[in-house]
Symmetry: C2
Subunit: 211 residues, 2 copies
DNA sequence: GTCTATATGTTGATAGAC
DNA sequence: GTCTATCAACATATAGAC
């Protein structure tokens, strides 16, 4: 079945499956070809080298996790809504793509320079600017007495940590606790709202503000 | 220099460096030999295969992260002290061994069965038992009105997430924020006490208990 | 125990027919 | 565009001298 465009899409989907689970070093071109139901030579016909195919997959992966947090933090929404949006987004994403976070961190541990590649091509996002806007929002809320003073870097890192890390621990977690897959998914769905609540609670001032 | 015992130790140290950074698939026996300052054939003389050498390193890595949390949670110490101990332990560990957590999660994502190997040999720890003891402590504190009702699984996962995840994000984090290594280490050292404080705060009851 | 040289298998990549 | 057959490079592992 000579289907030009469809074949490329099937290769990309197969490569995603294999690369996400095994990483660049562990993945085999033969396995990707099998998963795509085509021949190994086709992979090189469409993407020349394993590295080029991998780059496509990895840059797409970064595109799923980096821009969302930047745009959300830089928006005009109230703090509580931002935390809800971010938590909901990552829980949805990682319930459907569980291997994504380990794939990304392992790739960047092996070769941190791959990140630059993404930042250059995605010139749309400016970390310093969007984060600066979020910083101003924090300072305003502090000045109004709505929240206690806090380093926004810790705040964001706490939020992302509690959303993402459980999925990285999943293989270990379910085996130690003795949990089935469905139970784990119900468990992390509880966290979807629990985590932003905890974050909001952590920035409440000691005395409640006067009405 | 024919030094029997010393050579084995140097191989293990070199293997740790290379495996931690690149994982099983990315590591090369030649690179381990170079790092150890010996010949490639010596690796096989001491450890037969790459897999057997890797197992030694991986099981040691699990031994650094799993037993500590189990014994601490199962102890008789008060809750706040347990959180302090765990946070301090992981921050010390990961400041000196930054590649450890990604190494472990990537290994278990590639091959989850490796965990069983550890649990079988380390028959000393019983997750259900130690965790059950921690559960009872939580229930007692709830009954006394000292803390609000909470699922201890979420509680522990939140604690570990906020301690470990920042080190996994380190390569990405420092490049996006534009942070130097020393600044990052100062940053996570702030978290050493900040995280257990946040955890304790998250379980405080809505109304303070009567004196 | 330590080394050099080599065997053996695997993998990414290409050549060429259809 | 798609396939089969094959190449060339590399990596693990072993043989054998010292």
């Amino acid at each position: 079945m000579p289907e030009t465009d469809n074949t490329e899409a099937r290769i990309l989907e197969a490569a995603k499956q294999v690369f996400y689970r095994k990483g660049l070093d562990g993945a085999r071109m033969q396995e990707i070809a099998d998963e795509a139901g085509i021949n190994k030579a086709m992979l090189h016909y469409y993407f020349r080298t394993k590295e080029k195919l991998f780059d496509k997959i990895f840059l797409e992966a970064l595109g799923k996790i980096l821009p969302k947090i930047a745009t959300t933090l830089g928006s005009d929404a109230p703090l509580a809504e931002k935390f809800d949006v971010i938590s909901g987004y990552y829980h949805d994403l990682l319930l459907s793509t569980p291997y994504l976070p380990v794939f990304v961190v392992q790739t960047l541990q092996h070769n941190p320079d791959r990140l630059l590649q993404f930042i250059i091509t995605q010139s749309g996002i400016n970390p310093a600017e969007t984060f600066g806007k979020f910083l101003m929002q924090i300072q305003q809320e502090v000045a109004l007495g709505n929240i206690r003073p806090i380093d926004p870097r810790h705040l964001v890192l706490n939020l992302i940590s509690m959303c993402v890390f459980p999925f990285m621990m999943r293989p270990m977690f379910i085996r130690i606790i003795g949990m089935k897959d469905e139970a784990f998914e119900a468990f992390v769905n509880e966290r979807r709202h629990l985590v932003p609540q905890l974050i909001m609670q952590s920035i409440q001032p000691d005395q409640p503000p006067p009405d």
